[in-house]
């Protein structure tokens, strides 16, 4: 057990699984000698060599497409895309090829592979480098879309993702890569990301988020506690599939809900959660479900990003309204 940040936990998971399973190989731009754009793979090139930590040409579509070819051949590729916004260059391969392989071949071929990418803003990077587009992949049936919020989950969820028989898009919080720290066991444990994680218990309201929004929700919960409002905070961990039972139970226990995410409001994943709760937890709801999200606008330059991002103050204000609403 040692204290790690999220990047270190990811690196630990990759190294752990590469040592245990020689089918696991890494692909990405500058992941080898350079150590990765955020150093997620730092040291792995030296440890495992250029044959397993492969510096790819700048070609997102073919990085994912060739990773699929590797997966169809029985290897376990883990591809890094430098920013999730860049994964749009590989959208066809991810959505039309990787996700569909099992279904269209009726299980004869499948893609056991992981695509890692940081997403979201908060570190003064501009648009494309800050876009939270995880929900754009959440309609890719056949794909799993997951997003850890803390170092323990980052390692355990990544190990589970690499071992998963299906393809996993592993969305990492760019904001929090280094700042969110916590205890991480040295063993090769896994985290069952199909289950939402209740990270804080409270009786008055339920805050739902994933990845770095979980930390925002936790800080909001602390602020709310000083006002006498006790919040449950749920980390859904996985967008696709969504743990419907988990979020319904967490909302039924309080009757009030605020959903937090960085992506724009319209057609964001919060809409899916809200609609699900409106149906499945209807008789428990005592106030309208609120969403605290990015605005319906492209990501701004650094000066405006704190206004753009769903911050603690906005979550607290929404939670207060919801907690008092009838």
């Amino acid at each position: 057990m040692s204290v790690m940040n999220i990047l270190e936990a990811i690196r630990d998971a990759l190294g752990t699984e590469m040592a245990a399973d020689d089918r696991v190989i890494l692909l990405g731009q500058d992941i080898g000698k350079f150590g990765g754009i955020f150093r997620a793979t730092d040291g792995l090139y030296a440890q495992f060599g250029g044959e397993r930590v492969i510096d790819m040409p700048l070609a997102e579509g073919a990085i994912i497409g060739s990773a699929l070819g590797l997966a169809l051949s029985g290897l376990r590729p883990v591809a890094e895309i430098q920013f999730l916004g860049f994964a749009r260059q590989a959208f066809h391969q991810i959505v039309s090829q990787v996700a569909r392989m099992r279904h269209r071949s009726r299980g004869r071929f499948a893609a056991s592979m992981v695509i890692r990418a940081p997403f979201g803003g908060g570190v003064r990077t501009p648009e494309l480098h800050s876009d939270a587009v995880e929900c754009q992949f959440a309609q890719a049936q056949g794909l799993k879309v997951i997003a850890p919020s803390n170092p323990y989950d980052a390692k355990g969820m990544l190990l589970a993702a690499i071992r998963d028989p299906d393809p996993v898009l592993f969305c990492e919080p760019l904001h929090g890569y280094r700042s969110i720290k916590g205890d991480v066991p040295s063993s090769a444990y896994t985290v069952d990301f199909s289950k939402a994680n209740v990270v804080r218990q409270g009786n008055d309201i339920t805050l739902i988020g994933w990845s770095s929004a979980v930390n925002v929700a936790l800080r909001a919960a602390e602020a709310l506690a000083t006002e006498g409002i006790e919040a449950t905070v749920v980390d859904i961990r996985s967008l696709l599939p969504l743990d419907v039972g988990g979020i319904v139970a967490a909302v039924e226990s309080t009757g009030r809900c605020v959903i937090v995410h960085e992506a724009p409001l319209t057609a964001g994943f919060g809409a899916e959660i809200a609609a699900t709760l409106a149906r499945e937890a209807f008789y428990s709801l005592q106030a309208p479900i609120e969403r605290v999200t990015g605005p319906d606008a492209p990501y701004p330059l650094a000066g405006a990003e704190q206004m753009y991002l769903p911050g603690v103050d906005r979550v607290v204000a929404a939670a207060r309204r919801t907690a008092q609403g009838q």
Partner: protein, 356 residues
């Protein structure tokens, strides 16, 4: 089928080889004629793209492979599946969307798969399969194997990014892959010269330091020769090749458009029909005394019977149950003990990080 392919590979003589190639191409032709019929009567839904006229390209290329090599194709994949030895019954059942199809009735015309034959599709999006082939070749090299991957696509695909991304990787890393351009001159209805900055598209290999060749795609033996050399190079030296097979489709792009009259003239089509790849091989064999008229008639009857059998088989195979819609989307990992969560004591409390 697979066994027979192996025999022809080991040089049992031209006559037997030519008979085998003729049989395969004739089977493809008759099979797809039945596909057209099945489409017309509604047995096949959606789209249906026929390979009629192009048989020599796929047949010649696949005929030089070993059983442990890989083939990956496009949406015009029926004939390649036949050449690879997938049973006509399983292919027709797949086209009919039936449970005994080679993709279980969930892939359809454009998505034929067979693990047993290392046949990795059938891909519906132009150019979408090229990176996969590159990855398969990458895996072969990673494992130190001597298989090759044969990747088909049409001439329109050479204008797509995935073509360039993939050929760059294959050229850079010297992967055992053979990219075969089935240049049938038209991307749907747009002629090559109206879509590509250069007409000799095999020249694009130069940009990726890759051997290239242009071959008469109507001449099955010429295709065998060209692909055979490329396969040998890939297998022994790990060098990729780009081959442009110049061919022609005698039908429309799919079953929903006319063979001629809009983007190409009837006169052009008639001229091309004179170079029917099956007739070319048959004539050559007849000239050499390798086949008699009676044998041709008997062979035709044999493959027609095989196609009728495939139709009957497909027609009697049930459709997948509606529940199958939800199957094979994701594996149920909760029921697999191998995938049970590996515990590591009590997980730490997730605490808010003030500075984050």
């Amino acid at each position: 089928m697979a066994k027979r392919r192996a025999d022809t590979r080991n040089g049992v003589g031209d006559r037997a080889l030519h008979h085998e190639l003729l049989r395969t191409m004739l089977l493809q032709r008759r099979f797809e004629e039945r596909c057209a019929e099945a489409y017309a009567v509604g047995k096949i839904g959606g789209f249906c793209h026929l390979y009629i006229g192009q048989e020599a390209t796929g047949t010649g290329a696949i005929s030089v492979l070993r059983d442990d090599d890989y083939v990956i194709g496009t949406y015009r994949d029926h004939a390649q599946a036949i050449a690879r030895g997938i049973a006509p019954r399983a292919i027709m059942a797949e086209l009919f969307g039936r449970i005994d199809g080679c993709s279980g009735g969930k892939g359809g015309s454009m998505h034929l798969f067979s693990r047993e034959h290392n046949f990795l599709g059938g891909h519906g999006i132009v150019g979408g399969n090229i990176p996969l082939a590159t990855g398969v070749a990458f895996a072969i090299k990673y494992r130190g194997g001597d298989q090759v991957c044969l990747c088909f696509f049409g001439e329109a695909a050479v204008n797509i990014g995935s073509f360039h991304e993939s050929l760059n990787m294959a050229g850079l890393w010297k992967l055992p892959v053979i990219y075969v351009i089935e240049n049938n001159r038209y991307g749907m209805g747009t002629a090559l010269e109206r879509a590509s900055a250069i007409n000799d598209i095999a020249e694009r290999a130069r940009a990726y330091d890759m051997p290239r060749s242009v071959v008469d795609g109507q001449d099955v033996l010429a295709v065998r020769q060209a692909v055979g050399e490329a396969v040998q190079r890939a297998r022994t030296e790990c060098v990729p090749t780009l081959i442009e097979a110049r061919t022609y489709r005698f039908m429309g792009h799919s079953m929903s458009d006319a063979a001629a009259g809009t983007y190409r003239s009837k006169a052009e089509l008639d001229e091309q029909l004179k170079r029917d790849p099956i007739a070319l091989l048959r004539s050559r064999m007849q000239d050499k005394g390798e086949i008699t008229d009676a044998e041709v008639t008997a062979l035709d009857a044999e493959v027609r019977a095989q196609c009728e059998d495939a139709w009957q088989f497909a027609d009697q195979s049930p459709e997948p149950p509606l529940e199958a819609l939800y199957e094979d989307v994701l594996v149920d990992t909760t029921s697999d003990p191998e995938l049970a969560p590996v515990a590591a004591g009590v997980p730490p409390t997730v605490a808010p990080i003030a500075a984050a």
